[in-house]
C-alpha cells in the first residue's frame, strides 16, 4: 500500500469540517504547519474532563513534553516534528527530520526530550536509527544507527528512564530469530547513555515493542504486539527474555522465558503507546480501537478496563502530560483506519 500524503488544503478542510467542541483558537493553516487546533474554553475553577489538543494531524506517533508543558509531536509519514502549546494553540513546525523514509509502519516514530536535546527514532532508506538535535537548531546528529528496518515491526518508542538513560523499543524487523540473537539489537529493549554510548540489551525476546513507561516505584512496563493470537503487557526486568518467537502470550517459564502480566487477543488490543498516571497503566490499542486502563498492583496488574471503545478509532499513543492529563493520539490515517472528520487528533482527558 502506498503511504498517504494529504495536501495542505485537504487537511485544513478536514480540520474545519469537524463537529467537535467549538474552537476558541483555530490555527490558520500555513505552509509550515497545517494542522488545525482548538482549545475548548476553560472555566477558571473547573478544568475540563476532556479537551481537544489538535486536529488534522497525519499519523501522530511520538509525543514528548518540554519543560513548561509544550509538547513535541512526531508525524510518522511527513517526518515533521510539531510543537503544540501546553494549553492548545497553533502547532508550529520545529523540524522536518531529514532522511525519514516512511513506508507502512516505518517512518518518524518515537520522540524523547532531555534538557534542550530532542531525540527521535526514525526509519531511513537503510536502517532504523536514533538521532538528536538541540531545540532551536537544525543540526541532526546520529545517536544509534544500524538497527534493521523493515516495512513492519520497527518498534520505535524511546523514553528517558528514571535513571537518566535512554531506552528504545526495537522491533524484530520481521526477522523473528533476531529477537533471540544476543548479538543483534533487534527484537530488544535497549538502554544507552544520552550520547548513544554504552548501548546494552536491557531485555530480549521481543517482537515489536511500541510502548513502555515506568510506574512510581520505577518498574518498567512494556506493551508487545503479538503475531496472530496474543498481545501482551510485560514487566520488564534487566536481562530477561520475553520469549518471542518461541512463545507468544503465556507459556512455560521452564525455557527461561518470562511470562506477560496481561494478555489480550490481537483483535482486542494491538497495543502501541503506554503511559502511567497515578497507579494506573494506560495502553493505546490500534486494532482494539480503545485505551486500556490497568491498575498496577505491585508487580502484578489488575483487570484491564476498556476506555473509549470505538469512539476515536485507532489509538497509537497515550502520554502522561505534566499537568496530570492523559493525552490520547489517534492513528486513523495510518492506512489501516477509517479517518473521520478532524482526524488524526489528540485529545487530553483528566483521568
Amino acid at each position: 500500500m502506498t503511504r498517504r500524503i494529504l495536501p495542505l488544503a485537504a487537511l485544513a478542510l478536514v480540520a474545519c469540517g469537524s463537529s467537535d467542541a467549538p474552537p476558541v483558537a483555530r490555527a490558520t493553516p500555513t505552509a509550515s504547519a497545517s494542522p488545525s487546533v482548538e482549545a475548548t474554553a476553560t472555566p477558571a475553577q473547573r478544568p475540563p474532563k476532556r479537551r481537544t489538543i489538535a486536529r488534522g494531524l497525519d499519523v501522530p506517533w511520538g509525543i514528548a513534553f518540554l519543560r513548561g508543558g509544550d509538547a513535541l509531536v512526531a508525524e510518522r509519514d511527513s517526518g515533521r516534528v510539531l510543537r503544540i502549546p501546553a494549553r492548545g494553540g497553533k502547532p508550529r513546525l520545529v523540524l522536518r527530520v531529514p532522511g525519514v523514509v516512511a513506508e507502512q509502519e516505518a517512518g518518524l516514530l518515537g520522540l524523547a526530550v532531555r534538557g534542550r536535546w530532542v531525540y527521535a527514532y526514525l526509519s531511513t532508506a537503510t536502517d532504523n536509527r536514533i538521532v538528536r538535535w538541540r531545540l532551536g537548531t537544525r543540526r541532526v546528529r546520529p545517536v544509534l544507527t544500524g538497527l534493521k528496518r523493515a516495512r513492519f515491526h520497527n518498534g520505535g518508542r524511546i523514553h528517558f528512564g528514571p535513571d537518566g538513560k535512554l531506552y528504545a523499543g526495537v522491533g524484530d524487523g520481521t526477522t523473528p530469530s533476531l529477537a533471540q540473537d544476543p548479538e543483534s539489537l533487534n527484537g530488544k529493549i535497549l538502554r544507552m547513555n544520552p550520547d548513544g554510548g554504552g548501548v546494552r540489551v536491557w531485555s530480549l525476546g521481543h517482537r515489536n515493542v511500541q510502548g513502555f513507561a515506568w510506574d512510581r516505584r520505577g518498574r518498567m512496563w512494556a506493551s508487545e504486539f503479538g503475531q496472530n493470537a496474543f498481545d501482551e503487557v510485560n514487566l520488564i526486568r534487566r536481562g530477561r527474555n520475553y520469549g518471542w518467537p518461541e512463545v507468544e502470550g503465556r507459556g512455560s517459564e521452564a525455557g527461561g522465558f518470562t511470562n506477560p502480566k496481561v494478555v489480550w487477543t490481537t483483535a482486542e488490543a494491538s497495543p502501541s503507546g503506554v503511559a502511567v498516571i497515578g497507579s494506573n497503566l494506560y495502553v493505546a490499542a490500534l486494532r482494539g480501537e480503545a485505551v486500556w486502563r490497568i491498575p498496577i498492583r505491585g508487580t502484578s496488574l489488575g483487570k484491564p478496563r476498556r476506555m473509549f471503545h470505538g469512539r476515536y478509532g485507532r489509538i497509537r499513543t497515550v502520554a502522561a502530560a505534566p499537568d496530570g492529563t492523559l493525552w490520547i493520539a489517534t492513528s486513523n490515517r495510518d492506512g489501516r483506519g477509517s479517518p473521520r472528520s478532524g482526524d488524526d487528533r489528540i485529545v487530553a482527558i483528566r483521568p
Binding site: P48, A290, R305, M307, F308, H309
Partner: protein, 147 residues
C-alpha cells in the same frame, strides 16, 4: 411553561472510564448542574441504592454489560424493590440486540438507548437524555425512607 428546571441527582452505572468522561462532559454542557454519582459495577450500584446514608437518585443511567453484577440483574432488582422501583431507569448500552431491548422493557426499563459509537453523537444523546429529564419530565419526587 411553569417552574424553573431544578437540578436532579443521577446515578450512573458505567464500567468504561472513557464513557464516564464523555457522560460527565455531556452533563456539564447542561445549564442545570445536576449531581452525577458514578459507580463502576452492579454490586456497587445496588449497595449505593440500598445504603441508608446515600441520596436517592432521581434517575439511573444503567449500562448492561457490567462486572460483578450484570446491568440486567440490577434492573430486575431495582424494579422489584418497592422502595426503588419508581426511580426511572434509562438503559444506556452498546448492545443493539433485540433480546436486550425486549428484556429490558419486560423488566420495566423506562427507556432503552443504544450508545452511538461516535463520541460527538454519544455526547449529544446523553445531553438529550439529561435535558429531557430536567426540563420535560415530571419526576416522582422522594418517597420517605422507612424508619
Amino acid at each position: 411553561m411553569n417552574d424553573e428546571p431544578q437540578p436532579i441527582s443521577v446515578l450512573l452505572v458505567e464500567d468504561d472510564p472513557g464513557d464516564v468522561v464523555l457522560i460527565e462532559e455531556a452533563f456539564e454542557h447542561n445549564k442545570v448542574r445536576n449531581t452525577l454519582k458514578v459507580v463502576g459495577d452492579g454490586v456497587e450500584a445496588m449497595d449505593y441504592l440500598r445504603a441508608p446514608g446515600s441520596d436517592r437518585p432521581d434517575l439511573v443511567l444503567l449500562d448492561l454489560n457490567l462486572p460483578r453484577k450484570d446491568g440486567r440483574e440490577v434492573l430486575a432488582e431495582i424494579k422489584s424493590d418497592p422502595e426503588l422501583r419508581s426511580i426511572p431507569v434509562v438503559v444506556l448500552t452498546t448492545s443493539k440486540a433485540e433480546e436486550d431491548i425486549l428484556r429490558s422493557y419486560d423488566l420495566h426499563a423506562n427507556a432503552y438507548v443504544t450508545k452511538p459509537v461516535d463520541f460527538n453523537r454519544f455526547i449529544e444523546v446523553v445531553r438529550q437524555i439529561d435535558e429531557f429529564f430536567v426540563t420535560v419530565v415530571k419526576l416522582p419526587g422522594h418517597r420517605p425512607r422507612p424508619a
